[in-house]
């Protein structure tokens, strides 16, 4: 009975193994009897040989054609050869040019992928799992993110990363996985930490999907190979300076899921059923791996943990068969002491303050204790064991987890701490306390004396190791959430969705204000920013105004849109009594750094600050900034500042207000005209506001007017480049380019009708929503380049998704336009005019008369995402924040819809 995981592979104990234990098992289903536990969405990836065959098909056909020609018409072949010989110089030139184009150009222009910056020298090594003895999984002195979404993700060649990234300076190292029905391959990759560009990639011959993470010391990188079922996994040592050239490799007789530990000139690593190995870091004189000692699997059963070496002692754990913590002499491999444990020890040991901390328990990375127990009992049953024996065995197989503290010097246990379920990841140690996650869904903080200091419920199993900075601890759950918690009291301060398809086995690494972590389908991810660092530099994250700014599509954190949605919660929780006025949520909110800034009018007037990402309705709002008229347009947010326009046309005493994002307290107020459209947009260094009926003004961050220009009624957000601002004017209809520093009109073209959106800049072309469709215009003079007549744009916004422009037409269609040439790619019916589409990672969410429909990337038809008609009519278009969708309704207020 092997549970089937995603991608059509079983995730469970390998058939024939007596002791299912820690590790990442991917076994193909073998019999129908195995199909008893079925999980949905099992869709195998058809790749491998077929893809290769298709790729080689032209060459094969050409070769076959040549062969047939040579056999049937040898004279023709001879003449062809003679001709080629006579024209040898031109032919040689052509061959050289083709060769240069094929091989040389990519070397000069490497793939058009993200930029790779020069390597920063002098950074600390990452010589073992989680970077050091204290297993903090963070670069020295690193700060972690407290906001932001995805900075970059690498999915080009590999989408799956089970290993935990290792970070040295501005380089991130990880091993990848590509497991399909036909193939099993992997690679060792080095990335630019800031851009995600691939610095080098090493694919040793036959290298397979790998869980082991790279250990780095100096110019050497050592890593294992394979997943749990591999029987001949190798250990590799690479030369980092030489773009990952393999220095040596060694084939073990089992799997190497353990992450090596480099200590002095030695490498220590576990090899599953083949014991622990110690290699010389440098190859022997013959260029081969040099085994210094090896303790076999007979005495050291199930060597899965990642070793740690301190004071000449190698500390390792033994899993299912062994159930012990063992200390070996680093020089000789001789056993110094052995501490038996009641459960399999899969958690790598952490050394801090003269103590060893490690986790243990029942269950593994894929299966909880009950599943493992059921399998064990089933095996016993099949082996003819009595019910009494099974009952006895059951007592030790139930869900349990423990952390032990052991004296490093003596190997004596000092205390233990019990969790409800197993602890598989490493413990991260601070000066006087440790942090760890458990399969029971909690993140624990325990003092060095064993007393619990804090715990936080993640509501999902944690099988990964936490990353610890001086102020925060970062954890990744089985459900693909990455949380940042305050280190003191484990209060959530950051949250990001890594993806929706598990398993999530990669532990986060923190460096450069960001989290680096692998995922199942979304590749290697770099997520989050550190607010204080980001606000100081231009180009930091911001919500630029209506719908996130030109082209943003209602999402700026780059987090994925769930496949299906459902109602999550509403705010306020209760509807007003009959006859009582309701709060009106008339415009989309601003979203930044874990907070939503919701414009409110009606019964309450102002800006409401709510936390994003909550699965249940927040018990109370973060703050509410009251304003006399109420806010009916989207605020803008950057750094620690919120901007909002108080009131709508014809209201008295309207104003542009600047608020403190943390408290909602007003910083400054600038009056605007009562008849002003009130459009508000944020650029890097200034705020633009339509502060008069016909004027547009630029303000600096202190509220000082930089310039005011009379242009006509500006109702849509402008777009900007470094020196210019592009504005669509509704009355009289026009498109204008302004000098960014002065506001001087550089050019202005008349439009046939009022524009339906602000301009959007893409590759030096302005894209404008009109009553006919999308008009592409030259940046230098506003001349029309092409018109995509897909139907009039509604909803005041165009959304840009890679090469597509998306909008909802007046005819009620979701229109997709090729951003390069204006070709109308698709029209999807049933869209609700006036509500712009939400776009994230290729998926589009659009409103219909009855709900929200989702059009996945590459899918021909939209699917119902969730019904909303029972909530009332949309009063504001949906935006995506932390993978939740937020929108206003007329019956039930502010709605959060989340993954179903």
């Amino acid at each position: 009975m092997v549970p089937v995981g995603r991608s059509g592979f079983a995730t469970g104990a390998a058939e024939g193994l007596n002791s299912p234990c820690r590790g990442v098992w991917f076994v193909r289903v073998r019999s129908e009897a195995d199909m008893e536990f079925l999980t949905p969405n099992v869709v195998p990836v058809l790749a491998g040989p077929m893809s290769a065959f298709i790729a080689l098909l032209p060459a094969i056909l050409a070769a076959l054609g040549g062969l047939i020609l040579a056999l049937l018409k040898p004279a023709t072949m001879k003449k062809l050869a003679q001709l080629l010989w006579r024209q040898k110089l031109p032919v040689a030139c052509v061959v050289a040019v083709v060769f240069g184009l094929v091989y040389g150009l990519p070397m000069l222009m490497p793939g058009g992928g993200p930029e790779v910056q020069a390597e920063e020298k002098g950074a600390a090594d990452w010589p073992m799992f989680r970077g050091g003895l204290d297993r903090r999984g963070a670069a020295l002195g690193a700060v972690g993110p407290n906001g932001g979404g995805v900075n970059w993700s690498y999915t080009e060649e590999f989408k799956t990363f089970y290993s935990s990234p290792s970070v040295v300076g501005n380089r991130v190292y990880a091993t990848s996985t590509a497991l399909t029905s036909f193939s099993d391959s992997g690679a060792i990759l080095c990335f630019d930490a800031d851009t995600g560009g691939v610095v080098w990639k090493c694919v040793p011959k036959g290298y397979r999907s790998t869980f082991s993470s790279p250990a780095i010391a100096g110019n050497r990188l050592v890593v294992g190979e394979g997943l749990h079922v591999i029987k001949d996994a190798r250990v590799f040592c690479l030369d980092i300076e030489n773009k990952g050239k393999v220095l040596w490799s060694y084939a073990t007789k089992s799997h190497v899921e353990s992450t090596p530990c480099i200590w002095k000139d030695r490498v220590f690593v576990g090899a599953g059923d083949d014991g622990y190995y110690c290699f010389a870091l440098e190859p022997g004189a013959d260029g081969e791996a040099k085994v210094l000692w090896h303790v076999g699997g007979e005495q050291f059963l199930d060597c899965e943990t990642s070793p740690v070496v301190v004071d000449g002692k190698v500390i390792v754990g033994l899993g299912m068969g062994g159930k012990a913590l063992v200390c070996l002499d680093a020089e000789s491999g001789k056993e110094v002491w052995r501490l038996p444990a009641p459960y399999p020890v899969f958690g790598p040991s952490t050394v801090a303050g003269g103590k060893i901390f490690f986790g243990m328990g029942n269950g593994n990375f894929i299966e909880d204790a009950e599943t493992v127990m059921a399998k064990e009992l089933e095996k016993m049953r099949k082996a003819g064991k009595s019910i009494k024996e099974m009952a006895e065995a059951q007592k030790t197989l139930g869900p349990i987890g423990e952390i032990w503290c052991v004296d490093l010097a003596t190997g004596k246990k000092e205390w233990d701490f019990k969790a409800k379920r197993t602890v598989l990841g490493a413990v991260a140690a601070a000066a006087d306390r440790i942090y760890f996650g458990s399969r029971d869904g909690f993140v624990y903080c325990i003092g060095f004396d064993g007393k619990e200091l804090a715990r936080w419920n993640a509501h999902a199993a944690i099988v990964t190791s936490p990353a610890l900075t001086d102020t925060h601890v970062y954890v990744v759950t089985e459900t693909g959430k990455c949380y940042g918690l305050t280190a003191g009291d484990l209060e959530p301060a950051f949250e990001a969705t890594l993806g929706f398809t598990g398993p999530f086995l990669s532990s986060p690494a923190v460096a450069r204000g960001r989290v680096y972590v692998g995922s199942q389908d979304d590749g290697l991810l770099c997520i989050g920013q550190h607010a204080e660092a980001e606000t100081k530099k231009a180009g930091g994250p911001c919500w630029a105004g209506y719908f996130g700014g030109p082209g943003a599509g209602g999402c700026v954190d780059g987090q994925p849109l769930p496949e299906r949605g459902k109602f999550g919660w509403r705010f306020p929780a209760e509807s007003p009594a009959e006859g009582e006025p309701a709060q009106i949520f008339a415009a989309p909110p601003a979203h930044l750094k874990g907070q939503l800034y919701v414009p409110v009018s009606g019964a309450r007037k102002g800006v409401l600050c709510l936390p994003d990402g909550a699965d249940a309705a927040p018990e109370k709002e973060t703050w509410f900034a009251e304003m006399p008229n109420g806010v009916t347009q989207s605020p803008a947010a950057v750094g620690d500042t919120i901007y909002a326009i108080d009131g709508q046309p014809d209201d008295a005493k309207r104003a542009l207000r600047c608020l403190d994002a943390k408290t909602g307290v007003a910083r400054w107020t600038r009056e605007i005209a009562g008849d002003a459209p009130g459009m508000l947009a944020l650029l890097d260094d200034r705020i633009l506001a339509a502060d008069g009926a016909k004027t547009l003004s630029a303000f600096d961050s202190d509220g000082q007017v930089l310039w005011t220009r009379e242009l006509g009624a500006v109702k849509h957000a402008p777009a900007a480049v470094e020196t210019m601002i592009f504005v669509s004017v509704s009355e009289p209809p026009a498109l204008a380019a302004l000098d960014r520093p002065t506001g001087k009109v550089l050019w202005r073209v008349k439009l046939d009708a009022a524009p339906q959106s602000g301009p959007l800049l893409r590759k030096g072309v302005l894209l404008l929503g009109t009553d006919k469709g999308v008009s592409a215009r030259e940046i230098v003079n506003g001349a029309e380049r092409w018109l995509a007549a897909g139907g009039g744009v509604t909803g005041n916004a165009l959304a840009l998704d890679r090469n597509r422009i998306l909008y909802v037409s007046a005819a009620g269609e979701l229109v997709s336009v090729d951003a390069e040439n204006g070709a109308v790619l698709a029209k999807v019916p049933e869209a609700l005019p006036g509500v712009p589409p939400l776009v994230s990672r290729g998926a589009v969410l659009f409103a219909t008369a009855t709900g929200l429909n989702r059009l996945g990337a590459g899918e021909p038809e939209a699917q119902l995402w969730t019904k909303t008609s029972w909530l009332g009519k949309f009063t504001s278009p949906p935006v995506l924040a932390a993978s939740r969708v937020y929108f206003g309704t007329d019956k039930r207020g502010w709605i959060c819809a989340k993954a179903k």
């Binding site: 059509g8 289903v29 009855t850």
Partner: protein
Amino acid sequence: MKILKWLLAAALVIACTSAGRALINPNFTPLHLVKQSDLILELEAPAKFENLKGTLAIKAVLKGKTDAKAVVIDTGSWTEEEDVPVMEPLFLKSKGKPILMFAGKYKVVTPKGEVKEAEEKALFNVQGEWVPAAKMEDGAWDVKKIDGHMKYTWDGGPDMLLRGVKYALGDEDPQFPSVVESSWEQHAEAGKFEGDVTGACPVEVGGKILLHVAAEKGDRLFSCDTKGKKLDDATAASKLAAHSQAFCWTDLDGDGDADLASWDGKALTLHRQNLDGTFAAASAKLEGAVLEGVLNLCAVPSAQAGKPALAAAAATATVLLLPKDGDAYEAKPLPAGGDQPNFGKAGDCLSADLDGDHHADLLQTFEKGSLLYKGQGGGAFAAPAACAVALGEGGRHAFVGDFDMDGLLEVCTPNRAGSELWQNHGEGKFTPEIVYCGEMRYVDALGRISGLTADFNNDGRQDAVLFYAQHVPHFFFNRGFRAFGHAHLLDIAQWRTEPEDQQGQRAGALLDIDGDGRLDVAVVRNGGALVSLCQKAKGDAGLGVALRVKAGAAAGPVNVVAWREKRCLGAWRVAPGEAGAFVGATEAGPMTLKWQLPGGKPASEEVIVEDGVLRFEIK
């Protein structure tokens, strides 16, 4: 020779059928089938086969277009050596039942995840069997053999598949559940029972849902410790002192609270609930017929407002206990039907609106049949009509549920020797359909002793839980339209190997012990221990509506039909004084509840299920 051929055919059918056991393919459900079909037809059975060809008239085009009026099938490709007449009888015997034909190019993903890119073909569903067919040059469809693997997709009746297809084509978000992903937390032992245990059920006492376990050596009430996820004995606090061999909960005195009528083998005692949730016992004064050998009790409407009558199933007759003043009841045997002598031993009597006329009926079950006393309002019952519902030899219990979601309650009769599910066609007509009920038919089919209906996976469909004499209980989730899947992860055997768990149950009930909006289970093992297991589900707390009928609003059970937009979730039997019914919801949104009280007008109300479990009371 001919007989041999027929025997071979029968063996082949059985072999093919058995291949489809114990599996639901989540990768190719009826939804995939309908989506990938270019043409779906409802056909009529051929009148005959001529030259190995049969003509099936097209009754309805469900999807796609065709100008044809009939579909021709050809069984001729069956070679002489293997000339087993499987197809012809299969199609011919389908007369009066729908035959469905699906045609298209199917990308079947097997349960293993293998993708089978098939050629264009047709799939016929005939009498619940799947027959693939290829198109021949003359336009006929070449039918060869039964494909057992397609039962992984649908293993229900063709009539239900027809409804399922219409649902898949018409609903905006159709679902055919393939799996229940929840499992159980650690079990908690709440107590031990000596002697016989005659039943268990949730009941509302003092505004809280408690578990009542009826036992000959003393009934007990257990309160739910939501934090501790366990049951606590609350018998002493409730002052309930009953020794029930047969019992029923109802509002005996019309005060709105649940009271217990308990038969201890000798006498009937009325345990009335006080305002503070305690109970006061009083012996019922029985007049008229002598009451003895009571098997079970149920509440039925009476002529006296606010006071229900009680029906007692006894070995010799069904006795109606009509309320009189105070604690007095007049015992009046119900007339027996002409067929009763042939029905064998009596079992449970059930009170429910079985014919959909909004009056509670009384069904007295027997081993070989049953008597249906149709309710006529005002406590009156019509003369009994013989009914097909039979308990089977040695059977004792039955329970109702609207498993095909049509507004009429089916009857399930679990039996050690083989259970049955009786499809309700209205007006007292029932047909046995267990062979078309998916995995409920064959997953540990023997040894069942009792069961209950409950929506344990919160999807709004009525599921079935079956208890066993010498086995762990089984949970069968309704895939919709009376086809059940076995909830493997909820099979306690996966987690518990204690000898007692394997040795059957005396009684069991489902109630929300931990307050997470999902039903948990409590069973009294054969060994006497009461254990509870809380459901451990992924995701948020469960959503749903807890339905109640306020005592006094109706004198007997009422059918409440729940709707989610255009989709009927079926009828729930809700009786005053009982704990009510729980209709789950997979996600928040509106639910429309429709009912009609006896003598009243049709009523409906839209409720919004938004967060947790919404309590809805019909007043």
